[in-house]
Symmetry: C2
Subunit: 259 residues, 2 copies
DNA sequence: CGCACAATTGAAGCAGCTCAAAATAAGTGG
DNA sequence: CCACTTATTTTGAGCTGCTTCAATTGTGCG
């Protein structure tokens, strides 16, 4: 696998430079690739996986089922995401990860990650940073579910997805594919399917977005951001901490914050 | 500061053994101590702190204010918690951390943590693990806010707080002090103050808990757990991953999972 | 073509909200 | 230790954003 197409490297380079040696090591991790169908668990609740899953293609989600059978989707995982480093350090899964579409995933043994983080603390911190961003997204979702109206929540999620997909090259202009059902959207936002449907109509009706099948086009980015009370800083895109700059001089990540 | 009383060491030992040399290093981190009053920001939104805060005494919380002025509290930070490792690797704060009571906190410079994680990858992973547990708690709160009823949410939170306080020795029998207002509880659970009040009365009325001022006594632990749909596994208390066992043989953390 | 799933619409219900005011408790200065 | 002020808890009552239930329409696909 060539450097350029290794999504793990691209992922880590968002936050700091990656040396050639590090790249070589990272390339070595992606040898076991699997295809998984839609609506399958990549990792089940309570499991103790022995490898991490890196999503190469497709959409997945973290979710939990509560008493009464309701489901809460806690995050959307898109290509480039390592979706269970959690299992690496915590052992037993306290939630499940399931596919929303057919997926292609790379399996990375925990032992390989352990070796890597032992010998290359900087890479360890880079992975760590990724999990901190995951946590920032959890927090933002919590804020939305707890304190924002349905319309604001939906708008906010669309803004987030747009930026995240853009970062991995999965948008064209102001459009992107969001191949998930309204029921799934509801489970992610803590809303009923019916209300998701009505809310999407509202957002379409006011000219903020256009929906055609699974394709979503953002007609009025500023308006959607306003509607969604959206401040992208929690995604920590295209930024490095002082600490990381202090470590790796010379490289500057491409900034694209003109949002 | 003696080893036994260093809450950072106690915190890390929950998940894996800490060598004597590591303990010495960790002791060296706790030299700057500060007292902070109630309702003060330990770290403000958008700041770029240069040190982490370890809470020695008192309660704090992560929070965010949304458009319209509503507040969502995203986590409760209790003694022993390092409450912004986030800032270490991500630089700019995407939320604020404020005190709920007067607090005593230790300030740990980012540079010290950087050195530590560079030279002692195992300690780095231990800190990382802590942030992953934080994330697990975020997820669980999200599930509650999104999919559980008010009474279930309140009961769940009480269960969680009980276990977390117990782990740092801040409970006596089935009682603990929870010196936060009902308004703050509401901000944490995405509920109104009025509804929190009525829900607490419901939980008292059915004999699950007793409230006397800031002191909460759990009368019926099993019942409260049932009411709160509470499964403590997300707290990852008293457990180590295979990976960590693989690394440090010989030591076994005390297990106390008879819950 | 027809099945199965997904989106849409209508209508009624309710969990939790808001507003407003009263009752307690917790400070605080004298 | 009291009198006064301020914060918190508690209660009542009306309201609403979202849910639930149930049915209809659309759509992808073997």
């Amino acid at each position: 696998m060539s450097k350029a197409s290794n999504p793990l490297i691209r992922h880590l380079e968002q936050f700091g430079s990656v040396s050639d040696e590090e790249k070589r090591l990272l390339d070595g991790l992606l040898n076991r690739i699997e295809e998984v169908g839609r609506d399958q668990d990549l990792v089940g609740y309570g499991e103790q996986p022995s490898d991490c899953k890196l999503i190469l293609e497709g959409f997945a989600c973290r979710y939990k089922i509560v008493e009464g059978g309701k489901r809460q989707i806690m995050s959307l995982q898109i290509p480039g995401d390592i979706c269970d480093l959690q299992g690496f350090l915590l052992g037993r899964m306290d939630h499940a990860i399931g596919t929303l579409t057919p997926c292609r995933v790379a399996l990375i043994p925990h032992t390989a990650i352990l070796d890597l983080t032992d010998t290359h603390p900087r890479l360890g911190r880079a992975l760590w940073r990724g999990t901190l961003i995951d946590a920032a997204v959890f927090r933002e979702w919590m804020v939305g579910i707890g304190r924002r109206s349905a319309a604001t929540r939906v708008a906010h999620l669309l803004c987030e997805i747009k930026l995240r997909l853009e970062a991995v090259g999965l948008t064209e202009d102001d459009s992107f594919d969001l191949p998930i059902t309204q029921a799934e959207l509801g489970d992610a936002l803590g809303l009923s399917t019916v209300h998701i449907n009505r809310t999407l109509q509202e957002l379409s009706g006011t000219g903020l977005i256009v929906i055609r099948g699974a394709k979503i086009t953002i007609r009025d980015w500023q308006g959607l951001k306003r509607k969604g009370d959206f401040d992208p800083s929690y995604l920590h895109q295209g930024r490095r901490s002082d600490i990381e700059r202090h470590l790796s001089r010379g490289h500057a990540p491409s900034q694209s914050d003109a949002l």
